[in-house]
């Protein structure tokens, strides 16, 4: 017995109008100050008004939201008592909204103690809607949340099935104005999600389908979305692809790129998409030792050619590197201008943190500490994995 969990997904260029159909009294919109300024909150508020739902806005979410921020948001929720929480924005806002929801339902919970097999009774107080404005983390379809402990400089990546949003609204109008840098970073996050979801040892028929479709769409539309903000078709397909990608890993697991990426991001404040996209090819090279058959299947599906599984896997890795290069993404840690001595000094802790994430053991080839360390070092230099 296993599960494939997803929210109701409402998609299209008028998807926000679904908010007119929801029933409730008060909604707390969790977002960031930029989206308020850009008028995104007003768009949501307009639809809530149609539904007769009052709202309040908590717009203090920062990139890589901190534990302090989510505790503050939870306090606002406890005072306002919404029956809907709406996470509006990128992964930071949506993850913050989900964490605020958990703390609103169970105020005594410690964020890093949230686990998938305890009851939080989240829906006793409110239900959750997530509305992404990037393409994207796909947080709108998963039950995972990442917040940052700013004191220990570490990411807290936790999840519980109760944190799965009730509704995900994918309105393609909201991603139309994304600047190139954001398209690149969030697009690489989506690509990493579908590859890691497909390569997870928890993969199933249900997770494989969305992963493959997401990969196909990303390979076709990410560069187009990056090149031309007015390419509505590309922007819409990328938004859908990022949700599909997260339907996959969200029901399977992420993998080494995410665990290593969280460690790098926690220490050196590099954006999430850059971190995970950077490590992905190295991880695939490492996993290919035993997992080439799996990656080859994906390579064939997206139309790559090759005579052997290894050849197809290498083709897929080349394709991913090509996309990353096109988007101006770093292919090695040193390209991020991170000092080598500082990186090496942080290495033992980064390895420890990567091992602290459960999904490190749910990959096709589980590294030991030595291999993990070597992967971090090879990725610094930009060296192909040969072990």
């Amino acid at each position: 017995m296993w599960y494939f969990r997803n929210p109701l997904i409402v998609f299209g260029d008028d998807a926000l109008e679904h908010l007119r159909e929801i029933k409730g009294k008060r909604a707390l919109i969790v977002t960031d100050a930029v989206l308020v300024k850009l008028g995104f909150v007003d768009k949501v508020a307009k639809e809530l008004k149609h539904a007769g739902i009052e709202h309040r806005v908590f717009a203090e979410v920062e990139p890589d939201p901190s534990v302090e921020t989510v505790r503050k948001g939870a306090q606002v929720a406890l005072e306002y008592e919404p029956d809907w929480l709406i996470g509006l924005g990128g992964g930071s806002s949506m993850d913050a909204a989900k964490m605020i929801w958990m703390l609103y339902a169970q105020p005594d919970t410690e964020p890093d103690a949230i686990v998938p097999f305890q009851d939080y009774d989240a829906r006793s107080k409110a239900r959750m809607i997530c509305i992404p404005t990037t393409a994207g983390t796909g947080s709108e379809v998963t039950w995972f949340m990442v917040v940052t402990d700013t004191v220990e400089k570490r990411k807290i990546a936790v999840g519980t099935p109760e944190a799965l949003p009730d509704i995900a609204i994918l309105d393609s109008r909201l991603v139309g104005d994304m600047p190139k840098g954001l398209v690149a970073d969030t697009g690489m996050d989506a690509l990493t999600h579908c590859v890691e979801g497909f390569g997870s040892t928890w993969r199933t028929d249900f997770t494989n389908g969305p992963a493959l479709m997401a990969m196909k769409l990303i390979f076709k539309y990410l560069k187009r979305s990056y090149d031309d903000a007015s390419d509505k078709e590309a922007r819409e397909h990328m938004l859908n692809a990022s949700a599909l990608a997260s339907m996959s890993w969200g029901n399977g697991m992420a993998g080494l790129a995410h665990n290593m990426g969280h460690a790098l991001g926690g220490f050196f404040h590099v954006t999430h998409g850059k971190c995970v996209g950077l490590y992905l090819p190295y991880n695939m090279e490492y996993l290919a030792e035993v997992g080439a058959e799996v990656f080859a299947e994906a390579a064939r599906f997206i139309g790559l050619e090759g005579k052997t599984d290894l050849e197809l896997t290498r083709g897929l890795v080349r394709g991913i590197k090509d996309i990353a290069r096109y988007l101006g993404q770093p292919s090695s840690v040193k390209e991020l201008n991170i000092d080598k001595a500082a990186y090496e000094k942080a290495l033992p802790e980064m390895v420890g943190r990567a091992f602290g994430e459960v999904s490190t053991t749910l990959v096709l080839r589980v590294p030991d500490e030595k291999d993990m360390e070597r992967m971090f070092l090879y990725a610094y230099e930009g060296k192909t994995i040969d072990f």
Binding site: A113, F117, F355
Partner: protein
Amino acid sequence: MAIFATQEWLDEIAKLLNDDPGYAEGAKHWEGDFLYIIEPDELQPNPSYYYIDLYHGKCRKAVVLKDPSEVKAEFELSATYSTWKKILTGELDGMKAMMTRKMKFKGAVAKVMKDTKSQQAYAKALAPLKTEYEK
């Protein structure tokens, strides 16, 4: 080959852990003891219990219990005989067993989940363990 959940089986577990330098290193920071409850099902009509105490890379104790009240463990894992057999033979992933409520876990599970290094060292040390199942 020792039979599952017998004292001979637990003695084998303790020996494998205590003889393994990889476990000593990998679990050197771990402190925590476990009460295992084998709930009755069609394969085993009566409950049974065993206890394993792990501390700083060593197994301090691994014993069959007549009654769970003999110990006050930090962690308690409970599942039917059939489920334990599936988990230990690799047919069922332990975390999935918890998420589908086939295995119940009491205690600060986040502590266990965060210490992947100890878990990996434990699994690696016990890889040579051969278990016979009477049922």
